[in-house]
Symmetry: C2
Subunit: 434 residues, 2 copies
């Protein structure tokens, strides 16, 4: 039995996640020592507005607006960075590691850009840098990937990793709403921020893909390596047709690794209704992974929210506490020991769901098929939908095709006289070829 030990920590930021972490640690006070062998004691909380924050805690002397006060306190062993944003968060984390303090962060913006450098620095200083909360909120993903699934060669990791867009797409699917209507509802219910751009344009999901792919394939993938598309062009009609074809449309953070190359992108995709990700609805997140031994596995839960995110932060704090007591900090540090190239998007293969308005006369399908054939696009499924005047709506699902070829084919189709409009071009999930 290890005797009780106190580990002083500091929280940086006291917004939603910071206050949630404070609450979770308070709740855990009676059992923390039994769980970890140590008592994590919040010694300082860094805020901008001391007065406002002081009202939220039992002991207002914890609150400070001075980072130096925390950095220069040698007793503080762990810093939980819960402010978000690139700066000053990045500087604080670097300075904390340089001072030999362990760090927990929920900062996906920063990690998607500096994942590697920060982990290198932590490694050099023998410090822990844990970030379970940065991807998929409450859901244990990083630890299972780095530990439980370590004996796998993973070749696919994909997920629904943004709650705002999943809420919007769920409403569109279940209630036939258009995008703008569902976005308004999300804003009204607090699922979308005042400026929802980073969510609906896929940027937030892109950051998580960068982090997940780096861990899954042991090779650093940065945000700029991830091709990003949002959901603003998805219509209620796309949803309806997808449903008729046994699919739902989800914003998928996708990555694969094969032939020594990594693919990483965020895009709306048709997912078969039988796929485990298809029934992940509303603000829930899930990460789906495929490995050579484990086969398919999925982790599901809340991707955001005060207490769920705090659950992940506090789990990391407990983990560092155990490492400190057992003298094994830095036990699992950066796991990127490869340098794999990222496949150019033009080379990435996908199936596609295409929706066209074309002239309603015999021979049009033959004309389009000829164009497709010229660019190696094979058609898997065709549905002729209702006519609009002398235009007919055509829905096509293709077999796997290189994105570059698909672009060429669509340009050629656009130029044909029989084409009135290319209404939708959406990727469709297909099992990776093995």
């Amino acid at each position: 039995m290890i005797e009780e030990k106190v580990i002083p920590i500091a929280l940086l930021g006291f917004g939603t996640v910071g206050y949630g972490t404070y609450q979770v640690l308070k709740r855990q006070e009676p059992e923390m020592v039994k769980k970890t062998g140590a008592r994590l004691e919040i010694r300082k909380i860094l805020v901008r507005d001391v007065k406002k924050a002081a009202a939220k805690v039992e002991d207002p002397s914890l609150i400070t607006d001075s980072w130096e006060e925390i950095l220069e306190d040698p007793k503080i062993q762990i810093v939980a960075e819960l402010m978000g944003g690139l700066e000053p968060a990045g500087t604080y984390i670097r300075q904390a590691l340089l001072a030999g303090k362990h760090v927990v962060t929920a900062n996906k913006d920063l990690l998607a850009q500096n994942h590697g450098k920060l982990l290198d620095l932590a490694g050099e200083k023998g410090c822990d840098l844990l970030f379970e909360a940065a991807v998929a909120g409450a859901i244990p993903v990083i630890t299972p990937l780095k530990q439980s699934l370590a004996a796998n060669r993973l070749d696919e990791i994909m997920g629904i990793v943004n709650g705002t867009t999943n809420f919007i797409l769920t409403r569109m699917n279940q209630e036939g709403m258009e995008f703008s209507e569902a976005l308004s509802l999300a804003a009204d219910l607090g699922y979308a921020e005042a400026d929802p751009t980073a969510d609906i344009e896929g940027l937030d999901a892109g950051r998580k893909v960068a982090i997940l792919a780096s861990i899954a394939y042991h090779s650093r993938v940065a945000l700029e390596d991830v091709h990003i598309e949002g959901i603003t062009k998805i219509t209620a009609k796309d949803m309806q047709y997808a449903r008729e074809m046994g699919c739902v449309i989800k914003l998928i953070g996708m990555s694969r690794c094969d032939g020594g190359q990594i693919e990483a992108y965020v895009a709306p995709m048709l997912i078969p209704s039988s796929h485990p990700l298809a029934s992940v609805n509303d603000a829930y997140n899930a990460v789906f992974v495929h490995g050579d031994a484990v086969g398919d596995a999925m982790f599901f839960g809340k991707g955001a929210g005060q207490l769920p995110t705090a659950s992940a932060v506090a789990g990391d704090l407990f983990e560092i506490a155990r490492n400190i007591l057992h003298g094994c900090c830095g036990r699992i540090s950066c796991t990127c020991y490869k340098h794999l190239p990222v496949r150019p998007m033009k080379e990435v293969k996908s199936r596609y769901f295409l929706r066209f308005l074309v002239e309603d006369r015999a021979g049009v399908l033959a004309e389009l098929s000829a164009v497709f054939a010229r660019y190696q696009v094979s058609v898997e499924q065709v549905m002729q939908k209702k006519k609009q005047g002398h235009w007919a709506e055509l829905v096509i699902i293709t077999e796997e095709v290189r994105e570059g070829d698909m672009e060429q084919a669509l340009l050629a189709i656009q130029e044909k006289d029989c084409t009135r409009e290319i209404s939708s071009v959406i990727r469709a999930y297909g099992e990776p070829e093995n």
Copy 2:
């Protein structure tokens, strides 16, 4: 950078899981050192039939039928017990721990009975005893519970933790098969063993519930604390009516913790189709957990099979390798620091799905309702199904009721003249009251 180190290990058993682990370790050879800092080297493989096993490995000198040879080799640091069964596996694990060797095991039979004692022994000897593969096969569950979700007070952990029964129930639900027909199919396809009793009677799931509940609530739950019911009485008709009520029937390993008591049982249950467990089909497993911070989370994947199970075993081996290198074995040992009583089954509350054949005349429902009221059973939903001669089929879903009260009510109903038969009594999942 830690320099390359060799960690000699032994496998006990070379059946499905043993051979799978051998294969996974072979595949991982090129990357193992980069992942863990060490090379795990299989030094010995314990088998009964040396000749048969020797044909399956590159180096037949690894194969032995002498446990002493392994036990007495001080260089062997980790033993992976993959034989199954209570003995001699239990003795071997105890002897290995006493000799200071770390142990990985996939043996749920043993852990469900001796979980506590073995972990105590490991703790005394400063050894690791890991068993991710013992619950839900490939799915990372134990590590996420002990680490990632450690800062939660968990109040529910439930799951589909037996692939054979889930395959049978999926066929019954999707194809309208009767139990016996689906069991035959499962046997034909290799999803059911020659003697399927332990699976279809719920015993296998019960073992996993004992282990999961022990970890989730930090209090030892043994197999004999788990009330167990199987799926042999479930009919195609139950499935059909459940479906009409928006539910599916699954064999659920259920446990809850509230009011300082633990509930633990295995039983077929109606699950709403919208619940994440409802779409876990065929031989897949999933574990669903609820905690005060994380909210709802679920872990999904393959619950059995050669490589999936080996994925979990090898993940544990990698974990111990890291601990050995960092001198922190025993870092996470037994986490049962409470002594909570297990609630008697009579006190456990459930909703119920009931199917009766009753006399087809006015006033019968009133008579039954009067009996229910006498025993505090509130009716939530009633469906009158098609008549059979002058008998009518009645399907009722009740609100939550103590199991003892339900038994009394059913006895009283059985004795009424208007009752021809009580055809089905199946629990129905309801959210825990908070």
